[in-house]
Structure formats: structure tokens, C-alpha cells
């Protein structure tokens, strides 16, 4: 069973789907690591134990902070999401897809690992086995969470949805099985196209998949539409996690939480907030409507 409430991290990194102004203001507020860990501490002290983290550059610092204070965060559970695609976007633009992959894999690996890779995949790694490349990238990103309690590792939505469009079954199967075998954790998938993805994952033979998507009363970011989402929630066998439940502030918290809790098959709710009052309010609402 997953944590009912998972604290999200988009607000720390200047990500706001609705407004570039708001995103900029958030990025300024959370410039210092302490501003981030202060909010995490408020959430933790409210009783929230589960945190979703994108593998953004700052996440490494946050994880160092967790590792440095093991008693403070004894019950911490992480739900990381990878890769943080913007990190790669500029390199891909400049060096092309293979150039960027090469650079990241080599930069993130020790000399002995590079020797290992050559043995494992040969110099023409990409041609032989793209899945090995994916494994190397997963290994690199997983280093950030070393020694911490990771429950589910999510594939970030741009990558998930790109692969969904390509109908690259092997990539989804490979990601799931590699995480299970090497890290003993389950794979999850973030998506902007939940119903289509759920159908595809079931077609791939991934049983009872973990899928995190925007789900909210207003129907925002629910593609193709809210009705198809509700149908999938009611009829398909998968583990649903809901994010963007407040639709970036478009719905009142009470209405938002009531709607989510009425969708009985939703297991976890991911929300991000920056103030003690909002964190407390949202958590209490979820608990009230869950019971």
C-alpha cells in the first residue's frame, strides 16, 4: 500500500503549469536550500512522510540533507521521478540525442564503470541495445537517492508520453523490470494521458501498473477529457495516484479534495504547497474526506 499523502516538489524549482510569473517568483523564494528544507520540515512535522522528488540538480542537495540527519528523517519515504528532462534538453539541442547521452553517461560514471560499460555494451552501445543505455541512465539518477528509502521510481511525464506515442513497449517493460530486479522497487509512470497510458501498459503485460496523473474536479490537464479519466479509474485495474488536484489554484481546496476522495480507486494524492497553513489545511481535508 502506498502513502495516502505524498508531498510534491514542483513549487521548489520554479515549475508552475499555469503562470511563468508565479514560477519565477517561486524560484526566487526557494533559491536557498534552507528555504526548501524548512518547508519539507513543516510537512514532515505535520505527519507527512512521503515525498515525491524530481531528479533536478537541487534534489541532490536535498538528499544530502536527508542523509546528514538520519534521525530527523527516520520514517522518510521517497517517490522519485526521473529524468528531470530540462537538464538534458539543452545538451540534446547542442550535441544531438546520442552526443548528449554519451556526455551524461561518461560524466556521471567513474573510470572503472566506463570500462565496465565497454565490456557490457561495446563502444557502439546505442546501436546494440538502447535498453542498456536506459539502465545506465537509471543507475546514474539512482545514485542521487543512495541510502534513502525509495518506494516507487517514476518515469517523468515527457519521457513517458513520448515513449507512449512511439508505442515503444520494450522501453516500458525494460524500465519496470530493471527497477524491480536491481533496486527492488516498483516502477511508476507520470503522464498527461492517463487513460491511453493505462491501456498501453496493460497491453504491455505490466500488471496493475502505478500511474500518476493530474486528476481534478475541473478536468485540467486530463487528456483527452475528464469523463475518460473517470471511466478508466472505475474500470481498469491499475494503481492511481492523483496530482494537480487543485488545478493550480482553480478549485477550492474543499471541493478539490472531496472530488478526489469520491474517486475510490485513487490510492495516493500528491500535492505541493509552500506555507504551513496550506500544508496543514490540505492534509486535514484529505484525512477528513478519506474516512
Amino acid at each position: 500500500m502506498f502513502d495516502r499523502i505524498i508531498f510534491g516538489d514542483n513549487q521548489f524549482f520554479g515549475i508552475n503549469h499555469m503562470s511563468e510569473d508565479k514560477a519565477q517568483a517561486q524560484a526566487e523564494r526557494f533559491k536557498d536550500l534552507k528555504a526548501i528544507t524548512d518547508v519539507i520540515d513543516i510537512a514532515y512535522d505535520c505527519g507527512i512522510r512521503a515525498f515525491m522528488l524530481n531528479t533536478h540538480d537541487r534534489v541532490k542537495d536535498i538528499c544530502d540533507h536527508f542523509r546528514g540527519n538520519p534521525e530527523r528523517y527516520a520514517d522518510l519515504v521517497l517517490y522519485p521521478s526521473m529524468p528531470y528532462a530540462h537538464k538534458y534538453a539543452n545538451a540534446v539541442a547542442e550535441k544531438g540525442i546520442f552526443g548528449a547521452l554519451n556526455e551524461y553517461i561518461l560524466a556521471g560514471s567513474s573510470a572503472s564503470e566506463i570500462v565496465g560499460m565497454v565490456v557490457k555494451g561495446g563502444m557502439s552501445l546505442f546501436e546494440q541495445d538502447m535498453l542498456k543505455v536506459m539502465q545506465l541512465l537509471v543507475d546514474m539518477e539512482m545514485k542521487i537517492f543512495h541510502g534513502l528509502n525509495v518506494k516507487v521510481v517514476f518515469l517523468q511525464n515527457i519521457v513517458t508520453d513520448l515513449l507512449l506515442g512511439l508505442k515503444a513497449k520494450d522501453a516500458f517493460i525494460g524500465f519496470s523490470s530493471y527497477l524491480k530486479e536491481k533496486y527492488k522497487v516498483e516502477a511508476g509512470f507520470n503522464t498527461m494521458n492517463m487513460p491511453m497510458l493505462v491501456d498501453f501498459l496493460l497491453e504491455c503485460g505490466i500488471e496493475n501498473p502505478i500511474v500518476c496523473s493530474s486528476i481534478n474536479k475541473a478536468g485540467y490537464f486530463m487528456n483527452p477529457n475528464k469523463e475518460t479519466y473517470e471511466k478508466a479509474l472505475n474500470e481498469k485495474k491499475f494503481r492511481a495516484m492523483a496530482m494537480s488536484i487543485l488545478a493550480s489554484g482553480a478549485i477550492k481546496p474543499k471541493d478539490a479534495v472531496e472530488y478526489i476522495c469520491n474517486q475510490k480507486t485513487i490510492q495516493s494524492i500528491v500535492f505541493g504547497a509552500s506555507s504551513r497553513q496550506h500544508i496543514m489545511e490540505t492534509k486535514e481535508l484529505i484525512e477528513r474526506y478519506t474516512h
Partner: protein, 367 residues
């Protein structure tokens, strides 16, 4: 079923493939790219025929349409070849690297009933679409002045090895960024009657400009500016900012939201006197398949709809994109004239990064 072929399988090509591959009325028959490594990877994991030679792909495959996402220097030749074969064409921006090529393509297109579209994706962004409606309907009165800006952190060092750092390959801030800015201007206000005060300046790149600005003058008695900088690391991702001042109000818009200021309330549109903010979530719709933004799916679905419905007056047609190419040519000429008249760099249009070093050396000597 519409049969499609893709030429160019880089970042945009993959995005188009993914979006089109989920379209219920489209079958992607073949993909062409110069990278055989990329094609082997694609062929191994995805069910599609692959080619390294596009004429061969066109000969082998019985296609209805092509999507071209190759570097800009190859667009003119590929587009003409595809038109000759009677194919509907979607080509990524820029349309071509010089307006003379664009005119040649228009000549090839004349008399043919073929859907032609350029990937100026802002025309399919719901905020900019709504802003256009507001301006056209006179919500802010007569336009007085506008600015169209674009910022990004795409180039933060000299990228000589990449096509992005080479003008003849379609690199440079003008073609990559300013083209979007200028297209937005053409979309909203049409082509200006005069381009003045143009600046093309290098910040990091040795062979291309990293910053472009210019002023546009319209015979209708209004004016505007464009400013683009792809070497501004304060922006997490490429960002467009549009400001339009009218006789009755003002609009400030980006891809996610717009603010409108009105001197008097407009009850018909539900707008108050003073500032009103509208987020894309207030009026944007969902899409059948989302990847990187509704506008990417909307532009391709529109292209396919046009083919199915035999609609040839495209929102983002070749003739519209040619206007942007012509304006870009004018900016280059105007910037070169300004520099030549200073005697700074005769013949060139870019203020090179070296000149800043020289300037500071001069300042030191003068002290």
C-alpha cells in the same frame, strides 16, 4: 487513412512522430534520417520502415503527406521535391534560410491543391489565439505599439561544432528564436512596412548572433519592437513575452496566461475596468494526446484535418511563413547597413563578441 512519411528524426521529428503515431486517421509509413544509428534504434523498437535517402523513401512509399524536421538549410530542396510529387507538406520552421528560396517554393506550389504548413507552433497556442481574437475584435481599441520578446538559455557557450553555431546550416538566434517572435508579429499584425534600428549581436557564439532586436513601422500609424536573446540563463525554458498597447487598453501575454488592462469595463467579455488576468487553464481545452503542450498536437491535427477536408487556406501557410523570412532578410540588411555606416565591420551584420573586448581595452587605455 492518411499515409505519412517523416524526414528528419531529431528532437522535433521524434515529437511529431509520437504525436502523429497516436492519430486515429494517420499511418506513419516511413522515416528518413541521415543518422543510421538513430534509424537502427528506431527500427528495433518501433514498427516503421526507415531510410537514409529521402528521394528513395518518396519513391518506395505511397505517401499522402510528409513532415520535414531537418535543419533549415535543407528545407527548400526537400519541400520542392515533395511538392513536385504532389504531397501535402508540413515543414518545421524556419520555412527557408533566404526569402529567394521561399519565392521559388511558392512558384512550385502555384496551381497545386496541396496543404502547406510551417511549424510556427505559437499560432496554435490557446493564449496567443485568444489574444489575436481580442485584438482583431477591437477589445483594446486601435493598436498603438507592441513588443514581441523571446528569451532562453539555449546557447551559453560558443557551439562551433553544432549546426546551431553555423549560419549556413540554419543556426543563429535569428532563425531559431527571432523567427518565432517575428511570426507572432505577422500572425497578429501582418508584415511591417519598414524595418529599422536592427541589431544582431554575438554574446558567446563566434559565427552567429545570440541577440536580435529590431523596430517595425506600419503605414497604419503604429509601431513595434522585437527583442530575442537565446543566451539569457535567467530563463529555465524558451519564453515568449508579448505586450500590445491599444487606445483602449493593453495586453501582456505569455504561453500560459495573459493580462488585459481596460480603460473601461467590457461586460460583454466579462472584463473589468483595470487589470484582468486569464490563465490558460481558464479557457484552454484538453487534447486527444498531450506531448510538450496542446499546441504541438493541435498544429498537427489541424494539418491532418486540412488534408481530409481539402482546406488549402492554412493558418500557418507557406505564404505566411515567407513573410517572416522576408522580414528576417530585411533585419540582416538593416543591421549590416548600420554597422557599415559606423565603419565598424563593413559587410558584416553581426556585432562580434570580440569588439566588446576591444572596447574595454580602449577604455583602459583612455584611463
Amino acid at each position: 487513412m492518411i499515409k505519412a512519411g517523416l524526414i528528419g528524426f531529431g528532437r522535433m521529428g521524434i515529437t511529431h512522430f509520437s504525436i502523429l503515431n497516436t492519430h486515429p486517421q494517420v499511418k506513419i509509413m516511413a522515416v528518413c534520417d541521415q543518422s543510421s544509428t538513430m534509424l537502427r534504434v528506431l527500427g528495433k523498437y518501433v514498427d516503421v520502415k526507415t531510410y537514409t535517402d529521402y528521394p528513395k523513401m518518396l519513391d518506395d512509399s505511397d505517401l499522402d503527406c510528409v513532415l520535414i524536421s531537418t535543419p533549415g538549410d535543407s528545407h527548400a530542396e526537400i519541400v520542392k521535391t515533395c511538392l513536385k510529387q504532389g504531397l501535402h507538406v508540413f515543414v518545421e520552421k524556419p520555412f527557408t534560410l533566404a526569402s529567394v528560396d521561399g519565392h521559388a517554393i511558392m512558384a512550385e506550389l502555384t496551381g497545386k491543391s496541396l496543404v502547406n504548413q510551417v511549424g510556427y507552433v505559437n499560432r496554435f497556442n490557446e493564449v496567443f489565439m485568444e489574444v489575436k481574437q481580442l485584438i482583431d475584435a477591437g477589445a483594446i481599441g486601435d493598436v498603438v505599439n507592441f513588443s514581441s520578446e523571446m528569451y532562453g538559455a539555449t546557447v551559453l557557450k560558443d557551439s562551433k561544432s553544432s549546426w546551431r553555431g553555423k549560419r549556413e546550416k540554419g543556426g543563429g538566434c535569428m532563425i531559431d528564436f527571432a523567427s518565432h517572435c517575428i511570426d507572432l508579429v505577422v500572425y497578429l499584425f501582418d508584415k511591417p512596412d519598414k524595418v529599422v534600428g536592427s541589431i544582431m549581436q554575438s554574446i558567446y557564439s563566434s559565427e552567429v548572433e545570440d541577440l536580435v532586436s529590431a523596430s517595425f513601422i506600419y503605414a497604419g500609424g503604429y509601431s513595434g519592437n522585437i527583442y530575442t536573446n537565446w543566451s539569457d540563463e535567467t530563463y529555465r525554458k524558451p519564453t515568449n513575452i508579448l505586450k500590445v498597447l491599444g487606445t483602449k487598453g493593453k495586453i501582456i501575454a505569455d504561453k500560459h496566461a495573459y493580462k488585459i488592462y481596460l480603460k473601461e469595463s467590457d461586460p460583454k467579455r466579462g472584463l473589468d475596468q483595470g487589470w484582468n488576468t486569464r490563465y490558460i487553464t481558464d479557457f484552454g481545452k484538453t487534447t486527444r494526446f498531450y506531448l510538450r503542450g496542446n499546441e504541438f498536437t493541435n498544429q498537427l491535427d489541424y494539418f491532418i484535418d486540412c488534408i481530409e477536408q481539402k482546406k488549402y487556406d492554412n493558418i500557418s501557410s507557406f505564404s505566411e511563413a515567407l513573410k517572416t523570412d522576408i522580414i528576417m532578410d530585411e533585419i540582416v540588411q538593416d543591421a549590416a547597413r548600420s554597422l557599415a555606416s559606423d565603419g565598424a565591420t563593413p559587410g558584416g551584420s553581426i556585432i562580434p563578441k570580440k569588439s566588446r573586448e576591444k572596447a574595454s581595452m580602449w577604455k583602459r587605455i583612455m584611463k
